[in-house]
Point group: none
Chain length 182, copies 4
């Protein structure tokens, strides 16, 4: 295992930057380890020393940019909070390179268990966890899924449009559910 303290931060950033640039310029299909290395002016070995494969690099590039736009500070009331989060996802995902990348990462995760685990651990769970405590009832995960699943489902299948109105609707009915049924 490499010694993290001796890692070259320039190379680290160059790799993430090159990955993102390639993605913007040519889409996911333009991202290959060779291409990243060439554009970053870095040896392939340096990439494989620190990441297991290009999916992991792309995940880190995604997280760096996605985390740069932090989730909304929670306003008053559960309904408002969830609505703010749902709209935040819409803004982050829809019509953005970041949303496309997330789609592609979730896609790649279907054949890359390690990526699936990392996505859960570094993206989905951290965004859900702060909200779980706010949800009353004995199955907060169910409510969170009612809110967030439709968003991601449409993102991945594209069978219907996603916008703020949709986000608002989803939150409204999901909350109605949890009170009506819980």
């Amino acid at each position: 295992m490499p010694d993290a303290s001796r890692r070259n931060p320039q190379a680290h950033q160059a790799i993430l930057g090159a990955t993102w640039d390639l993605l913007v310029a040519g889409g996911w299909s333009a991202v290959s380890v060779d291409a990243i290395a060439a554009r970053a002016g870095v040896g392939k070995r340096t990439i494989y020393r620190w990441w297991p494969n290009k999916n992991a690099v792309a995940l880190e590039a995604f997280l760096a940019r996605a985390r740069a736009t932090p989730p909304p500070g929670d306003p008053e009331g559960l309904s408002e909070t969830l609505r703010a989060h749902a709209r935040h996802f819409v803004d982050l995902y829809v019509g953005t390179r970041l949303g496309a990348l997330l789609r592609e990462l979730i896609g790649a995760a279907q054949t890359d268990p390690e990526l699936a685990r990392a996505l859960r651990e570094h993206w989905f769970l951290p965004r859900r966890e702060p909200l779980r405590a706010l949800i009353p009832g004995d199955d907060p995960d169910l409510v969170l899924d009612l809110v967030f699943a439709p968003l991601h489902y449409r993102l991945l299948t594209g069978h219907a449009a996603i916008d703020h109105a949709f986000a608002d609707n989803v939150v409204k009915v999901a909350l109605a559910c949890s009170t009506a049924s819980g």
Copy 2:
């Protein structure tokens, strides 16, 4: 381009069968056009003549098997109907090779727009369409998403378990929503 009436049905079935066999034996990563051709005793050209790539072949293999277990005849009452469908999806997807294949196909669809279109057109929409008419209110798609999105979301992200109880809960709250909010 090619004349479908002259298509060799033996070769057609052999290709789909070989694809499925490879999938069962070695998972999605074992499926390659070369491997399919070799196992089916078929020239690669014959595959490329009728399908654009292996994703399309795998989709057809998926649909052939998935359609072989038709959705439940609709029992009395909307609630029962949706519950039957949700449980049907659970049975079809969870812990089965078919579910794994669907996951992988949705994954591949994130970088293959044609596959995405075909999946929507030949899988998602046909399963939704008969149910849309049954849903009261002015946004039946929203209700269908409340029911089916959590299922697929958990299938794709694996952040929580899927079983009949989950399916039942989802249907219960989704219906509670639509009545409470609509």
Copy 3:
């Protein structure tokens, strides 16, 4: 074996014509059985019914055109006769599509024994035979080779130019040989 009396002469000529056209348009590499069939408006089966492979077709196309320019009627004297023949070869081969085709056929014959046999039988021997009787001495084949080999050698290796002067020189020294040594 097919019944030659029922052969369609239009198809026969169309195939030879298409072969030649392809050759002129794109060189030997543009000649494939598929391409011939397509351009001739003929089924591949029709080609394979009458020829074993494309080399045989091309040979026939070559012979049809090469035989259309018959060798010179033999003038007075062996020296003149050989010189006329040598110059005839030069005219036929050098800088012409026909010469290029012969090169390519001899090339193909190196891995196609049947083509080699046919070339010998239908091209080389018929051109040599009438001359053999004219050559005095006990090894006329040697003299013929002294005359014709350099021509074909340069055609195939391209290590030096071929023109009438070269043809004349070859004939002059070859004849000098045969008298000096014989």
Copy 4:
């Protein structure tokens, strides 16, 4: 393009060796880039990195073996020298795998200009050059052709046998020519 100093000599030799082995075992038709790579335990990419195609590989394999039997040191007298060289060609070519390979390479060169150039440059010219200076008269190339063309002509057309006697005869008459006519 690639950095020759970093070339792996084991792989280089394995490729040439595998090419030769395939040739000996199954003839030219058994030689394919795939087969070479498989037998040499080498990636196809490694072959294509250093050679443009299999013809170039085969040429190098030919040259390696052909140069291993160097041309005869030149004995006293032009006649003896040429005779030794002619017999050397006969020994090298006739009834040997090497001769068959040369035939096939010359054949392939008819549709591969780069191979043609390389054959001239690395085989024909180096063997001719040392002899040119020995030939008196103003057209040494003509004399060399008189000696070597018949040999190669018969090799390529197979219209007559090749043996030491033929070589001797060719040299005898070719020299008679040059003195008689020059």
